[in-house]
Amino acid sequence: MNDTTASTPPAKKPAGRRKFELDERLKAYKGVWVFIEHERGAAHPVSWELLGEGRKLADKLGVELGAVVPGAPGEDTQKFCAEAFQYGADLCYLIEDPALAEYRNQSYTRALTDLVNKYQPEILLLGATTLGRDLAGSVATTLQTGLTADCTELNIDMENRSLAATRPTFGGSLLCTIVTLNYRPQMATVRPRVMAMPARDETRTGRIVEHPLALVETDIVTKVLEFIPDERRDQANLPFADIIVAGGRGMKRPENFQLIWDLAKVLGAEVGATRPVVQAGWVGADRQVGQSGKTVRPKLYIAVGISGAVQHRVGMEGSDVVIAINQDPNAPIFDFATYGIVGNAMQIVPALTEAFRQHLATAKLAS
């Protein structure tokens, strides 16, 4: 995101449109890479989502798709490589070193920048998780290249083979497409659930390129004293929930939010919320959906007492079906929901809970 506020912006040049010649030294950069993020034995699904997207980019460019798998010896790195192939990677760069046992910026930045300098990819994608954003920022600065955060769309500008990365700006009111011209690799992060999960092909395999690192633990200043896992494992699940019941300020009082929980319980759903509800402390911050919260892609999203502000919408418009309940027939949420009920949530939600309960009871009897 270019900052035009530092002073009066200079005359706008349509720089992205300009045909330009890549520096000779940068032409050697070839291939699309995805960083495979894993912690505590599990790969983050965003890595597979990115492989799906990376596959399309690599095919457009006619280059290989590489997966970068870092980890400590004895970790499940081989398994992650196998999975990466199944999700579309042609080859895996495996970096094993004891110093990579737990994520630390310094060791991971070293590993990734080393690898980039050696094998020179033209595009490098990472998940916009706390780990991915931490790492991408320091890697891009170390490599002195451009990084576009939180992209919602990735494409190739065929005219000059550059990555065109689209992301929301000004809180989601606008989108902008960003290109990285004479710098390589072109880096981007994408949030979990923004891209669709690709189909998995169990028969696919690829080749593994091992890259030794030889980090010395004593050179790494930061130590991990402890990892405290979240108690409620459901916390991290919101982005991957199939059904979400979300409440907004229209629920009026914290006690009324129980109606949302009741409906969610009957549906086996997760509970989401808008920012004002989170700020008022009715639910935890991990339940916020939207621009500054989570991006979700459920099969069903029930939005109750939510106006549908753009900052909320960007986090949930990937939902397959949206049901909106709102008193105001002109609420923006009705502009993009699938079904709407205009009315008072305090009455409609209990009625809906009951209707689903009955439906499930009869369905059970019938089976």
Partner: protein, 281 residues
């Protein structure tokens, strides 16, 4: 102890509207505020000041009007304020911004060594969360992002222990000073400015630095010129053309509305019927 807090003045994006025809941002009348996440960082720094008598310097790069943001920070209790402003900084992306800020921090160090640099989690206009890490790399500071708690600070050993938000849990990290910390939202509540501080803030002389005063060594690395990324297109999101089908019933009874909705939903999306049945059983 000396702490530098990087703050940015941003348009209050809650109030930004997009012109329906020209697709441009309508900035008129949109107030400029201090990036809310930066106030969380400032408060965290001021708490360290209260405990350890730290000296707190606030730093911003922006247009001359960004002075307001610095005065606000002074009114909360910051000791010193520096404004980087120069036409040459304009159009900077995060790489060029972190270059300029890092170079200014080096200048600040010449007067008084810096132990900690604070940045916000991200800005609400750029939203990238990249400038903090960029500064850390350039200055060779230990980098602690998404910090949700400062557990311990040992000035004699020059060590700091923090909790950092990670995926699925919290990492407890211990590192050496100097370090750069980006602060997670919601971990503290901003204090109120006191009357004497407000008066002091209004009169306090700011340091205004152009690119030379900021010690910029390589002018090709700041502003638009120093920015690898270029915005090639700005456009409005295509509205989902679909309008909601509003459930209409004769009675307006919630019960009937709910029943009608379920009937419609399960007819059009039979897979949802299966999904709900599977999950609820």
């Amino acid at each position: 102890m000396h702490i530098v807090v990087c703050i940015k003045q941003v348009p209050d994006s809650a109030q930004i509207r997009v012109h329906p025809v020209t697709n441009t941002i309508m900035r008129q009348g949109v107030p400029a505020i201090v990036n809310p996440y930066d106030l969380v960082a400032l408060e965290e720094a001021l708490r360290l000041k209260d405990r350890y008598q730290a000296h707190v310097t606030v730093l911003t790069m922006g247009p001359p009007q960004a002075e307001t943001a610095l005065r606000k920070a002074l009114s909360f209790g910051a000791d010193e304020a520096i404004l980087l402003t120069d036409r040459a900084f304009a159009g900077a992306d995060t790489l060029a911004t972190s270059y300029a800020l890092a170079s200014a921090i080096r200048q600040i160090q010449k007067d008084m060594p810096v132990d900690l640099v604070f940045a916000g989690k991200q800005t609400i206009d750029g939203d990238t969360a990249q400038v903090g890490p960029g500064i850390a790399v350039r200055l060779g500071l230990q980098m602690l992002t998404y910090v949700c708690k400062i557990e311990a600070l040992d000035l004699e050993q020059r060590e700091i222990t923090v909790q950092r938000r990670a995926e699925g849990g919290v990492q407890v990290l211990k590192t050496r000073l100097p370090a750069l910390i980006t602060v997670l939202e919601g971990i503290n509540e901003m204090r109120f400015a006191t009357m004497p501080d407000m008066f002091r803030a209004a009169r306090h002389p700011l340091k205004v630095w152009d690119k030379d005063a900021a010690g910029i060594e390589d002018a090709t690395r700041i502003g638009l010129k120093g920015s690898p990324t270029v915005v090639s297109k700005v456009f409005a999101p295509t509205p989902r053309t679909q309008k909601a089908e509003i459930v209409q019933t004769q009675s307006d009874q919630p019960r009937d509305q709910a029943a009608t909705l379920l009937a419609k939903l399960f007819t059009k999306f039979p897979q949802l019927r299966a999904e709900i049945g599977r999950r609820a059983s």
